[in-house]
Each structure stands twice: as C-alpha cells, then as structure tokens.
C-alpha cells in the first residue's frame, strides 16, 4: 500500500514537473528565433500533460512520461506546426511511428488527419488556445510500462498573408515502447478547419 502511494506521489511530481514545464510554452506566441536562412522559425508549441490514468497498475514515472511527451511534442512540431508555418509539406516523420503504423500512411484521407498540408503559410502567427494531452498507461504483470495512450486536444489559430484559420485536432494516439524507444503505434485523429473572415489584401 505504502509502495503504491509512494509510486503515485513520484508520478504526480514527475507529471507536475512536466506540466509546469509545458505550460510556459503552451500557446506561445511566435518566437523571435530564425531559421538558418534567416526566415522566421516556426513557433514553439508543446503539449501540456493533463493527467495520467494508470488504470489500476503502476503509475508511470519520469522515465516513461518524459520520452512519451517528447514524441508527442515532436509530432506536433513536425507534423503540424512546421508545415502550417511554412506552407510546405511536412518533412519525414516516419521515425516517430512504428512500422505497423506507417503502413497507414498510404491512405491519403488517413494521412490528412495526421499531418497539416496544403494550406498557405501561416508565417505571421500561430497560437495555441489549447495543446493538451491526457495520458492513459498500463503496466504489465512485470511492472513494465510499454503502452501509453494519449488523448489530444489541440486548438490552433494560424495567421499568414493569405490565411486566417482556426484548426482543431483531436483524437487519440497509442504509443509503444520497444527497448525503451517510444513510438506512435496507432492513431485516430480528427481535424476541422474554419477560416475566419479576413479583409481582402490589395490586388489579389
């Protein structure tokens, strides 16, 4: 009993530390940093972890939460924020996914729920009203945690010379650990886009 309580405390401390760390960045305004070629860099937006359900098993510690959050943040940055900012197709994100998950990339409709692609560059600003991940983990009988589900709720407002749009991405990812390497093993996401009224900009 004491051991379980202690484990919960440790997990909560780890979670709090991750959450507070993220909150500083969540919804951040476009950073002033620039890419190597001098163009403005995409803003830094990361997830706030809003709770972990251990489902009656050993709660995850920082050894699980940190790499899981790192994968989620990398997914958000590389699949959503960077292509939205640049207006270019996303770069290679296969290293974030297991081989089994990658087999679904071939379906364009499925891929469209996963990555941001095809919009004009939102180079003026990208802000996050919400970038929250709720986690659910399960420890096996041996106590090892090799499976974590993440319920995502991302609400972005993106502005550029030819775009002023609200984007909502929500759904669930399931991550698995193989020899300590966390990757997204399955996904079910939805995306909605709503364009805001934007005054015509001269002569287009």
């Amino acid at each position: 009993m004491r051991r379980a309580t202690l484990a919960c405390v440790v997990a909560l401390v780890a979670l709090t530390s991750l959450t507070s760390c993220s909150k500083k960045k969540d919804g951040a305004e476009p950073s002033a940093s620039k890419n190597k070629d001098g163009t403005p860099a995409a803003p830094t937006i990361t997830f706030t972890v809003d709770g972990v359900e251990p489902n009656g098993t050993k709660p995850p510690g920082a050894d699980v939460l940190e790499p899981v959050k790192a994968v989620l943040d990398a997914y958000l940055r590389r699949a959503v924020i960077e292509p939205l900012h640049s207006g270019q197709p996303p770069g290679d994100i296969t290293d974030l996914f297991t081989a089994e998950a990658q087999t679904r990339f071939g379906d364009e409709a499925t891929l469209a729920t996963l990555v941001e692609d095809g919009l004009p560059p939102a180079s003026t600003s990208i802000t996050a009203e919400s970038a929250v991940a709720k986690l659910s983990s399960v420890a096996g009988p041996d106590g090892a945690i090799t499976l974590v589900a993440a319920r995502l709720d991302v609400k972005l407002h993106a502005v550029g010379p030819r775009i002023d749009i609200d984007i909502v991405r929500d759904g669930e990812l399931v991550l698995t650990s193989q020899q300590g390497d966390w990757r997204i093993d399955s996904f079910g996401l939805r995306t909605t886009r709503n364009t805001r009224d934007k005054p015509e900009e001269g002569g287009s």
């Binding site: 359900e53 297991t98 399931v174």
Partner: protein
Amino acid sequence: MIRRSRRFTIVLVVVAAVLAWPALASSQAGEHAITVHKVDNGSFVALQPSQPFFLLLIGNDGRAGLEGIRGDAIHLVGVNPANHSATILNIPRDTWVNIPGHGNEKITRSMEFGGLQLQVQTIAALTGVTFSFAVTTDFEGFQRLVDDMGGLEVNVAERMFDRASGADFHPGRTYMAGPAALAFSRNRHLNGGDIARTTNQGWLLIAALERARQVSHSPFDTMRLLGLMSRHTRFEGVGLRDLFGLVSFGLSIDPANVRNVTMPATTGQVGKASVVFAAPGHQELFADFRDDAILQSH
C-alpha cells in the same frame, strides 16, 4: 476434497479482455483467474491483421480443493480480418478423441493429463487448426468476470429448470449476473444434452462481445480493459502490445458477424462412460473452418 462433479465452468471471451471488466478493480489484486498463453510465433501488433487467426478459449473446472483440472468448455474462435467476421466452433467436453501419449479419452481430460499445452495439442490434432493464443479461465473467475462486466444479456432458446446447475430461465432475452450465467453454461439437462450446452456457451461469448462493445469506444477504454487484465491475468509469452491489438480488433467485430457452430456429434457409451463421438461431416467442417475462419458450407 470437493467431489468432482464434472460441473462445469465456462468460457472465456471472445478475447480474454472482453470479459474482463471495470469493476474488476474491486477484486483482489494478484489473483490470476485468467491465463493468456501465446501458442505460436504470431503477432497481433498490427491493428489490422490481414490473415485469419485462431484463438482457443477454454473454461476449466479449477477451484480450491479440486485435484486435476480439466478443460471443460472448449471453443475455437476463428477471426477473418478481411471480412470483419468470426466463427465460434464449439467442441463438447466429452468428445472421445486420441490424446497424444494417453490414448483415447474424453477431450476434457487432456488438460488434466498435460495442462493447457497438451489440451492445445489435442485440439489442434483433432481439428487441424493452428492457434495463436490460448486463453483459459477457472470456475470462480468466470462468475466474477461476468459480474464485473455488469452481467450479460443472453437469448434463452428453451425453458430451463435444472436443480443440479441452478438454471431456471424462461425463453427470451434474459439478463444474467455471474451465478446465473454460470448456471446457464452448466446446464446439460436440455434437448441435446451436452451438445446443446456447448452451443449455449458459444452464445454467452457473443453476449460478452455485445456487452463489451456497448461500453468500449476508444483506445482509452481498451487501455482500461488491459489494466484490468494486467492485474488479473497471467501472460505467457504475450505482451501488452499484442493484447491491445487483439482486443482492439476483437471489439471491432459486430456480433451479428459472429457465427456460433457446434461440431456435429452424437452421444454414446464407452464402457460405463457417456461420451460424445464426432459425427460424419466433422472433418469437412474443420477444413472449412481452418482455411479462412469462415464456414461456407455449414
């Protein structure tokens, strides 16, 4: 010692997980009513497995004070991912078969002679089916699992009143808590005897799938299921990722696409023992089942 009355247990679920249920949290941690045993080198990590696969679900009569556990409720589950369909093929426990290394005996005794491994081997030899997973649960586990699911709704085909099992049901859709479900699965005083009872156990499996689908709608729900399983299940060669894929896929199958078929059989005697003999046509049925988990000709 408890008198061995061949009474019976039942089964597990379409997927072991399907029966495990949230209220299991109230059960004592550390109990392992269920064992999930990986039989071959197959893997279910892909959420959309493309090839048909087969599970063996066995209800054993294990309980405190009873020596020699037998595998009483025997159900082969074949899943065809392409069609999103499944077939439950039921084998009566008293089926007279050759048990490797032990000669001819009732198939239920193969577990007593050599544990789950020998029972899997015996059933594989009988049917020609290669199993990926075998799942077994005991007498107590079954009742608790059904209760923790919140009970099952089962279609009762005929009036049942049987003091031995405690079955007392009228025809029609009937709610059953754990003890009632156990009684339903044990009652063999029916038209069709043990063969009809075996078929009824298959209906319980489908009822369990229906119930699980009512309350499981997302990966988070599946994770809860796995959490319960993790605390109450012994995994032999099976990982959580495997189970997640398997359970997710199982829950995606509409119960309307699950067939419940019992091996053609006749009853008879061997010495003083009442037994079940595989009837003509059983080999064709097994062949039809094992090629793609769908019964085209039956």
